[in-house]
Symmetry: C2
Subunit: 381 residues, 2 copies
C-alpha cells in the first residue's frame, strides 16, 4: 500500500491510523489536521555521537596515548590527514538512519567513551578535544542539514575546569556549536573529583551562561572494573548527577543554566516518587520548582514501556527527543523487529497532542539549545 | 462508611470497588472470590532495616569509631546494655505501619547506611556485624510474628570476603536468618574492590549456596561527596550490580545462587530495552535465561507509575514485595495523601490476578528466601 509516496506495511499503516484516531479523539480535529499545514515539525535528535570515525582518527588517539609512555611516538596534529570525502563517507550510516527513521538533524558530538578525560594530562585532553571538536565542526560544515555540533571539553582529573574555557569558547564562537558535554566524573569511574555542584565547576557555568548554551551531563569510558560503560557507568552517572543537583542550590546561583541528563535521566523517572520524597524530607522545594526550569531529559530509553513512564512523570516541556545513535545499543529488538535505539517509534506510538509532539521533537530542543541562532534553524525552523 | 469493621473514605471505597470490578472482569469471579477462602495471602515485606535503634547502640558504634583514633575509647561489648523492653519499644513504629498498611512480616536487617564497611579494619567490621546481627536476632525472637532476620556481613575494603563466612554461618545456623545483605562496594562510594562477579566473592557464594539462602545486594553509606546515599549511591549501585551480573557467568557457576536487587532494581526496569539490547550485542543469552532464574527485584519504588513499569517489564515471578520502611523516604506524598513508601497501595492498585498477587506478596519471597524453613512460616504460611 502507498501513502504519500512511501511504501508502508499494512501493520504500520494500521498503527498510524490508530494514532491518528487517538489524536482526533483527544482534541479538536481541526487542530490535529491543521498542524502539518502550519509547518512541518522538525525532528531534532539532541544526542548523537560520532562513533564511526575513520581509522586515522583512532590511530592518532592511540599514538597520543602511546606517547604518554614513550614521547617519541607523539603524533603531530599536522600529520593527521582526513579528507572531506572520508568524513562525508563516515557519517553515511547516521544519515541513512535519519532518512529511514524520519529524523531531520542530530546534535552531534565526539564519541562519549572516546573523550577519555582520565587519560594523560590536561595537555593530552586539550589536544584531543581540539582535534575531536575540529572534526565535528568539519562534519557539520560538510553536512549542514544533518548535523549541528556539540563539543567535548578538555577536562582532566584534579585539574580545575578553568582549563576548559578556551575550548568552550572556540566551540561556540568559532564553530557555532550549540552545547558541550560535561563529564561529571573525569576520573573514569573512580569519582575522585568534586561533584558537579561544587564551585570547582563554576567557571564553566559562568561561561555557559554567558554564551547561553547548555551542557549535556555525560560521562566517558569507565576504567573501573566495577562499572561497565554503557549499561552501568552512563546510567549510574545520570542518576548521580541528578541527585547532586537536587541537593544543591546551583540553579539559584545560575538561574539560566541548562543541563540535559541523557539516557532518559538514568534511573530518575523510574524513581520519581523517591526523588520527590527525598527533596521533601530534605525541606527542598518541589522538583518542578527546584530543577525543572533547568534540567531536561532525553528520550534515549530503548523500549516502549520506559518511554511511556518518562512521559507519564516528566513534564513534556522537559523532554527532548534523542536516540543516541549509533551508540550504546546497535541491535534489532526481536520483539518489535525494529532497532532498539529507534526511539522515534516509541514516541510516535504515544498519544501526544500535536503541541506536545512538536515540543518533544523540536521546540524544546530549539529553546534549550538556542537553535534559533543556528544557520540550520534559520533555514528550516 | 463502614466495611468489614474499618472506616474508609468514600474515595478509597470507590477505588476498592473499581479494583474489585477489574479483578472480576479479568478472570473467573469464583477464582477471585475463592482466593481468601483458600487461605489468606501473607504479605511479606522483604526489605526492612532497623532504623529506630536505641541510642545505646548508636553510642556503642560511635565509641567503636572513636577508638580507631584513640584506643582508650574502645567500648566493650559487655558494656552494651539494651533491655528487651527497649528493643520491643524501638520497633513499635514498624509494627504500627505493618498493622496500618496490612503487611504481615518484614525481613529485617541492620540499618544499611549503618553497616559502614568502609570504617576501620576487618576487626571493626567483625565486631560491629556481630553486635548488629545479635540485636536483630533478639528483636526477631521478641517479635516473632513481625520480623524475620537478615544479616550484615563484616566486609572490609581490600579484605578477602572469606572473613565473612563465620558470621554468615552464625546468622543462618544460630540465628535462623533467611538472608544477608551483600555490599557491592565496601569502600563506601569509591568502588575500589573487585566487582561482585569476581572470584574474590566466591567463598561467600559457595557458603550461600550450601546454606541455601539468598543475598540482597545493598550498599552502605557513601563517603564519596559525589554520591548522596539513598538517592544516588543506592540506586547507582543496584544498576551497577545488575550490569556486573549481565556481563558475567556467575550463575553458570552457581546455578542455585539467588540475589535480590533492591529499590526495584535501580534503573534496570526503566532501561529494560537497553539491557536486553546490550546483552544481545554482547552475544549473551536473553536476560530471562541469563539472569532471571537467579535475580529478583523488590517493589521499593515510591510512585504508582514506577510500580506499573516494574510489573510491565519484569516477570511476576521475579518481583518481591517490599517497602524499605522505615527507610529512605519518610514523608507523605501530597499528591496521594499517603506515605511515599507505602508501596502496598501501589501494588494493590494494579490489576493483578489472585495468583500473581500471591506470588508478589508471599510465595516468591517464600521460595527465594526458603521461608518454609522458618518457624514463622510453619505457623502462618
Amino acid at each position: 500500500m502507498r501513502i504519500s509516496g512511501l511504501e508502508v506495511s499494512r501493520r504500520n499503516w494500521l498503527k498510524g491510523a490508530a494514532a491518528l484516531g487517538a489524536t482526533l479523539a483527544g482534541g479538536s480535529p481541526f487542530a490535529a489536521l491543521a498542524q502539518p499545514a502550519a509547518g512541518k515539525t522538525l525532528v531534532i535528535d539532541c544526542h548523537g555521537h560520532y562513533t564511526t570515525e575513520p581509522r586515522e582518527l583512532l590511530a592518532f588517539r592511540q599514538a597520543e596515548i602511546a606517547a604518554l609512555k614513550d614521547p617519541s611516538q607523539k603524533p603531530s596534529i599536522a600529520s593527521l590527514k582526513i579528507s572531506d570525502d572520508q568524513l562525508r563517507e563516515s557519517v553515511q550510516p547516521q544519515i541513512k538512519f535519519q532518512r529511514e527513521r524520519g529524523t531531520d538533524v542530530a546534535l552531534f558530538s565526539p564519541r562519549a567513551a572516546g573523550m577519555g578525560h582520565h587519560i594523560g594530562t590536561a595537555e593530552t585532553s586539550a589536544e584531543w578535544s581540539r582535534v575531536s571538536n575540529e572534526i565535528i565542526h568539519r562534519i557539520c560544515t560538510l553536512q549542514p542539514d544533518n548535523f549541528i555540533g556539540v563539543g567535548q571539553l578538555p577536562q582532566s582529573p584534579g585539574v580545575r575546569p578553568d582549563n576548559c574555557i578556551e575550548e568552550l569558547e572556540r566551540c561556540v564562537k568559532s564553530y557555532g556549536f550549540v552545547a558541550v558535554n560535561l563529564n561529571p566524573d573525569p576520573t573514569g569511574g573512580f569519582w575522585r573529583d568534586p561533584p558537579l555542584t561544587d564551585r570547582w565547576y563554576y567557571p564553566v557555568y559562568e561561561k555557559l551562561v554567558e554564551l547561553d548554551v547548555p551542557a549535556m551531563v555525560h560521562v566517558s569510558a569507565s576504567v573501573n572494573p566495577n562499572f561497565q560503560g554503557t549499561g552501568a557507568h552512563y546510567i549510574a552517572a545520570d542518576t548521580t548527577a541528578f541527585m547532586q543537583l537536587l541537593t544543591s542550590d546551583l540553579f539559584k546561583n545560575f538561574p539560566t543554566l541548562r543541563m540535559i541528563i541523557p539516557h532518559g535521566g538514568g534511573a530518575v523517572p523510574f524513581h520519581w516518587g523517591r526523588y520527590r520524597g527525598l527533596a521533601q524530607d530534605m525541606n527542598r522545594p518541589p522538583l518542578e520548582e527546584l530543577l525543572l526550569k533547568n534540567v531536561f531529559f532525553d528520550t534515549c530509553v530503548y523500549h516502549q514501556a520506559g518511554i511511556e513512564l518518562l512521559f507519564k512523570v516528566i513534564p513534556t516541556d522537559n523532554i527532548l527527543f534523542a536516540s543516541e545513535m549509533l551508540g550504546a545499543v546497535r541491535g534489532v529488538d526481536p520483539f518489535t523487529g525494529h532497532y532498539y535505539d529507534d526511539t522515534k517509534r516509541y514516541v510516535d506510538a504515544l498519544q501526544l497532542s500535536p503541541e506536545d509532539r512538536r515540543k518533544v521533537f523540536e521546540t524544546n530542543a530549539a529553546r534549550v539549545y538556542r537553535l534559533d541562532r543556528t544557520a540550520y534553524y534559520q533555514r528550516k525552523g
